[in-house]
Symmetry: D2
């Protein structure tokens, strides 16, 4: 955790000799003070080729130029290394739109973290298919939009959600137990920027009522999974997971209760990794530079 | 978790032959339907004598009499077995007074659980030595009392706290990161009914700034402890503990952040055990019938 | 843990009023000293009927008769309550046959526990489809049988395994990473007495190469599962599970290595529960009285 | 995990701009292929000055020279950066001397890992103050030395241990539940190369009988700590720790049993980090590049 303003480079490129030297050499040349840096070489054992991942935090005022110029100066090197890259600025807070349904545990948890500045973000609005959490959200000074979703109105409802997100200039979407199957359009609209919390230890118990499935199977631990949303239900790249022990005395409703504690923690951790540009997507997997 | 009304017997007595038979025989005689029952014999290896602990849930309407009569009828047997005992009624919700300071994470967490009825309790009031959380508490319809505490006014301040608790007919007190050292009078006033959450894995790092202590010692896990308050600081019977992994990259402020997640979970679990009469104090230790 | 000789009743029966009173009353009547007792009512929410489970340890010399007479005297009550029941004697050590392949981690772990008497069992023999661990096993004074298994000889090989187990009067079989798919006959021969350790957190990653499957899916935790063997591969009742955290830096071989630590611990815990008659099978699930 | 031969640089130096660029630039200049690299800046919040830590694995045959020349060529840069540094070769297996007493769980565990090549080390000898594990060790083809220790012979006994270690050219010492308080001379002889496993979650329960201490305090988790030995008992830099849950039903002997599982796992993990040059000592703390 760094209090001073910093820039974060998150990037990947084909593996080759000298990548770190080239990239850190660029910063060193300009007296850039590196606060944190992590590198990872994926040897390509599950794909055809090796790929290199990196994340570097540089103190903003150690550089003799501003963000725009940094990006401009870095671009030629990035091009040479055939990089996918982005540089973010700790001074620009991300704009996170939260989607909820009726369950409040993740929402309370996220707003407590936002309130205490643990999550240093803007929440331009909360969107829900129910109106029940309006008062709580509005008390925090956050706009609340009620967009009902019925089988017949799905398409228009999700178009409205998308319109609201865009109007609010949301750059990250969090499905905080939104409990709805999104339209393919909405799934596709924010690639790598829409996070879901699924209430099972994926890939076990995909789909509806995972705690009931877990109860039937008699597992001894239950879990939760934070992942990016893709067009395939519960199949997106996994960012974070955790589990909690249960036993034969626990009924489904006990599992639901235990599960909530895991869900909110896993979602908060996954979201933090995302917000700090610690997550790089690689195919259907993630590199998470904790 | 049982939806129907039930009575809970929590008791301990000197160990001898036939205790379970006598106690469950009493319920069987009256057609009492036992929903859950747990027994534990402490062999006295750390004290002089063996002691027997039990907790029994009986469906209320399976018995042919009401709570008062149940207590009256059970009393002779309890006397014969030299029991410490209590019988509570799931229909009488406990009255939990929460004490907070300026940190909101435990308060948000407890109110979310109360709001969703996960914690089926009354919160007659919240008391704080700061005024900052008043709005949030009052929005929930819960009275908020600001009782400033200064070195000079400690005695009168804690007398006022005690007056407020008693006026609110609070039966359980939760120090949800209250961060104040109580007066001996207040410590003594609610024995076995005042829970604290300490931000370390006790007995490590007693007292102030435990995360700083943990940082200095270079531990690889940090923790939190929910315990009953006694007159000795951080020495009361431990109800629940948990830990989370950290590493050399974590500064004290990261540990504080991770710690909050453990604190609120451990407090919520410890409080639940207490509220469900699952905790029996034995000397300076607890039997927790999970 | 009790040093003195004791009998263990493990039983289940249809739920009704007064079961505990009847059963513990039986022991009390004979001055039986109950060391440990646990009860569990399954409300039948996932089946049609409620069922009651119990496990009771009674000090052997507190009873005025021997095991055979205990069983005989208990039988009428068991019949009346329509019980499935067994009573074991802590003085009769269970006879555990271990089946291994080439990986040694579970075998070393089990023999260390046996050597130190942590597992107070007889190991009448070890059976393997390879000869490589013979020396290690025989050094411990345990007979070792090499029974090669090829696709063509499966039936006769497993018949030979069964012959060896029966000749050794084995009552429990442990597949300690045996890595072979058994014949239906062998699966059926020791119901509720053959334990397997599967190297994934079931139901995820059934079948072959679970660590490769886990790597492909990009999960953030891997696990192991100890379960009873049934005719369906990796589908038997789960006794114990655990997980360990991995991240993007871990290749499949790292996962294999981490996995071994979980496998041996989970197997040892599951086996201990089984040996102490703490596991009661209920349909395809288990009640584990820890 | 890398199968090909590689060199590992483990180093620390005062923090300044451009360290990574300089060091990785050195390797890039010689076409060195970096397999793994980790960096950490300690901001000096608990000491007076910032310090920079790094660990870099370079594929051996990507460099145009051998280890000796690598060290020679790297030396000027190291000098310029005022580095503490070492470069090891994955082809030179470390020589680990194991010290044990009578408990076998850690020894079995380490030898299983050595046998399977999970730990790719030499074990030139095992030293014990008892003779009971001789047969097991010698069966593995490892020399065993029995060096009795009595209050009167401590000094000469530890001198003999030191003589045996040096004669065996041991570079790392592992106290695998050796259970003896070493002489100050022995403690000082192998700084940063002698690992102990303590059977508590330090700093709780320093010294003798930690499980008894834990039982008395009524903690809900017990742990183990792998640390470097220094002259102060149980106060050396912590490398790894872990915990396991217990409850009121666990007697001291149960805690001992659970504890063993944690002890061997924590020791094995700590030892692996040490062997792979992942541990850098910083004052009384460690940086562990996992």
């Amino acid at each position: 955790m760094h209090r001073e303003r910093f820039y974060t480079l998150a990037a990947s490129c084909p593996d080759r000799t000298g990548i770190i030297a080239r990239v850190t050499g660029f910063f060193a040349e300009h007296q850039g003070w590196i606060l944190e840096s992590t590198f990872h070489a994926d040897d390509g054992s599950d794909t055809s080729d090796g790929r290199y991942f990196m994340r570097i935090e540089v103190k903003a005022d150690s550089l003799p130029f501003q963000l725009a110029e940094l990006r401009q100066r870095f671009a030629p090197l990035a091009r040479e290394l055939a990089m996918d890259w982005r540089i973010s600025d700790s001074a620009s807070r991300k704009r996170v739109v939260i989607l909820v349904s009726q369950q409040e545990h993740c929402l309370y948890d996220l707003l407590a973290r936002w309130q205490s500045k643990e999550l240093d973000i803007e929440i331009p609005c909360v969107i829900s298919n129910h109106d029940s959490l309006r008062g709580f959200v509005e008390w925090h000074g956050i706009p609340f939009h009620h967009v009902p979703v019925t089988p017949d109105t799905k398409t228009s409802a999700y178009a409205e959600v998308q319109r609201l997100v865009d109007a609010a200039r949301g750059d990250t979407l969090v499905l905080a137990r939104y409990m709805q199957i999104l339209s393919p359009e909405l799934c596709a609209a924010y690639p790598g920027r829409m996070l879901n919390i699924h209430h099972s230890f994926l890939p076990s118990f995909v789909g509806a009522k995972p705690y009931h499935q877990a109860y039937q199977r008699g597992v001894k631990l239950i879990g939760a999974t934070c992942h990016y949303v893709t067009h395939e239900l519960d199949q997106g790249p996994i960012i974070e997971q955790d589990v909690i022990r249960i036993d034969h005395t626990d009924a489904v409703e006990d599992m639901v209760r235990y599960g909530k504690d895991i869900e909110k923690t896993v979602l908060a951790r996954g979201l933090r990794y995302h917000l700090e540009d610690r997550v790089l997507v690689h195919g259907n997997k993630t590199v998470v530079f904790r």
